[in-house]
Amino acid sequence: MAKGVWIVAEQRDGAYRKISFELASTARKLADQLGEEVCAVLLGSGIEGIAGELGKYGVDKVYVADDAALEPYTTDAHATAVAKIVKENDPSILLLGASVQGKDLSARLVGKLATGMATDCTDVKIDGGKLVAFRPMYAGKCFGEVTVASTPQMASLRPNVFSIVETAKAGEVVKFDAGLDASQIKTKVLEVQKDTSGKVDLTEANIIVSGGRGMKGPENYNIIEELADVLGATVGASRAAVDAGWRPQSDQVGQTGKIVSPNLYIACGISGAIQHLAGMSSSKYIVAINKDNEAPIFTKADYGVVDDLFKVVPEFTQVCKKLLA
């Protein structure tokens, strides 16, 4: 019978992505309820040294494949390696991150393992010995409680939502052979272009300052950027601002943009069209600054300021400067 709660850890350039610790902590919680072990799969090249670190977050055993063919990430190589070790060990639950890489890998694994998966979950629990995953659907306009009839029961977890809990466990490292054959790998990463701005990606940001149609034009985003600089925040935008060409596509928050869940989301001059609300409703705190007191954004906001953003935002930047000095 399938047993064990498994995660696929994510690393880049030999350092764990934060989602790995979120996955480990969540798996620990589920495994304790089931009385089962937590195992992690770690793939890459020259990464054996970091494997044991996962023990700190509740992982009993880390299966490591250290192979040059696993770096950089390719769908074929990673899906083949994970499927091999998972099939050999038959876990009951398999969790991945709903990061860009995790989304790609998890979906391919659904095919390889012939199972079901709840994507981009915001909560998971055990009910009657089975996984119940809670996930936004219709971009958060409703939620679904998902169960998976086959094993492993797969779920991908939305980054930045699950808490990291330190629970010291053995973190025993077990090496395995990924069993890769070059002919299986049909994709190749030719080039990596890093964003050198030093900004945290929207999906990983703690604080986001977003501007919408109320910004009136691309030249006014400097006031948003100044506030973001003071707060160490990432700048986002509504679809209206992106479609108008004021901001790049990569900045868009919403149903056809990025789904974000920062600690603090500050919406400036965003009315709150339903497709925008869908992308940011899982933020922990929402602030809305808008001169229209009827704007739907205020129905989601924890704190609202009804006023001209061109007056309030620069003042607020000064306030934050003093608070953080």
Partner: protein, 292 residues
């Protein structure tokens, strides 16, 4: 130039911007054995992004009354890319869709945009299909036709699963490149750009392959009036689960649909002076929410 400072991404090998039919002559393509490309685009009919979604009182699904149905926006990017490829290289575009009778409208929309023929998988038994069942049905339909490249949306905006393209690729034994914002085919391979957190990747894949489209890939065209007229006469094959030999048994099931969790009512910062309101907001975020 777009604002935002991302323009320095200059992934070199790729794009001869605006490469069109004129270029095709000097950039001969060899996909498969023929010059003509067999292109497939998978589409799904979904509620419009502006639609309000109401959960049925018994939690068994959503209330479909009054919903305006459209082509999944990510699938539109896939269809557009398929049409651009056809225009550049020659070939034909087959639209494949799983859905009830109304999904035929979406297939016709894609045909009106310029696709050549359609396959409509329509079977009440497949209602509530999860990603695995959906991909099985699409794979069975696509296996029966020539396919050099398959476009899907990176996710459908109804169930937001984002799995079908990858599972389909696995079932067809093909590589997949997902969530891509640029694609270019040359010499029997495809090169794509894929944004990841804090970087962009240039990835090459052999063909045939499955490509899942992200916003930014292109600007989907509107159907022209003559296009709409022509679409009515284009062939669409209708198939059911038995004809495709697929099982309707789902692996993942939405046991219950629920409305989104309510957020506690918010506070409006009052006053006439923007500076005082900014100060009060700062105090609340610092002392009450403790987030700055």
């Amino acid at each position: 130039m777009r604002p935002g400072g991302k323009e320095n991404f200059n992934i070199s090998i790729l794009w001869n911007a605006g490469a069109g039919p004129a270029d095709a002559a000097v950039r001969p393509l060899c996909i498969g054995k023929e010059d003509d490309v067999n292109i497939v685009a998978c589409v799904k009919q979904v509620p419009d992004t502006e639609a309000m979604i109401k959960v049925k009182p018994d939690g068994s699904g959503i209330d479909e009354a009054g919903i305006k149905w459209v082509m999944n926006p990510y699938d539109e990017f896939g269809v557009e890319e398929a049409l651009k490829l056809k225009e550049k290289q020659g070939g034909d575009v087959t639209i494949v869709s799983l859905g009830p009778a109304r999904a035929m409208e979406t297939i016709r929309t894609a045909l009106a945009m310029g696709a050549d023929k359609g396959i409509h998988i329509n079977d009440p038994a497949l209602e509530g299909a999860d990603a695995y069942v959906t991909a099985s049905a699409l794979a069975a339909a696509i296996k029966a036709i020539p396919h050099d490249i398959i476009f899907c949306g990176q996710r459908a905006i109804d169930d937001d699963s984002g799995q079908v393209g990858s599972v389909l690729a696995e079932m067809l034994g093909l590589p997949s490149v997902t969530i891509v914002t640029k694609a270019d085919i040359e010499g029997g391979a495809i090169k794509v750009i894929k944004p990841i957190e804090g970087a962009q990747l240039l990835i090459e894949s052999s063909l045939p392959c499955v490509v899942t489209a992200q916003k930014g890939l292109n600007e989907p065209r509107y159907a022209s009036l003559p296009g709409i007229m022509k679409a009515k006469k284009k062939p669409v094959d209708v198939k059911d689960a038995a004809a495709l030999g697929v099982s309707a048994e789902v692996k993942a099931k939405v046991a219950k649909f629920v409305p989104p969790p309510a957020r506690p009512p918010g506070k409006i910062v009052c006053g006439d002076d923007p500076a005082a309101k900014a100060a009060e907001l700062g105090r609340l975020l610092r002392e009450e929410a403790k987030v700055i």
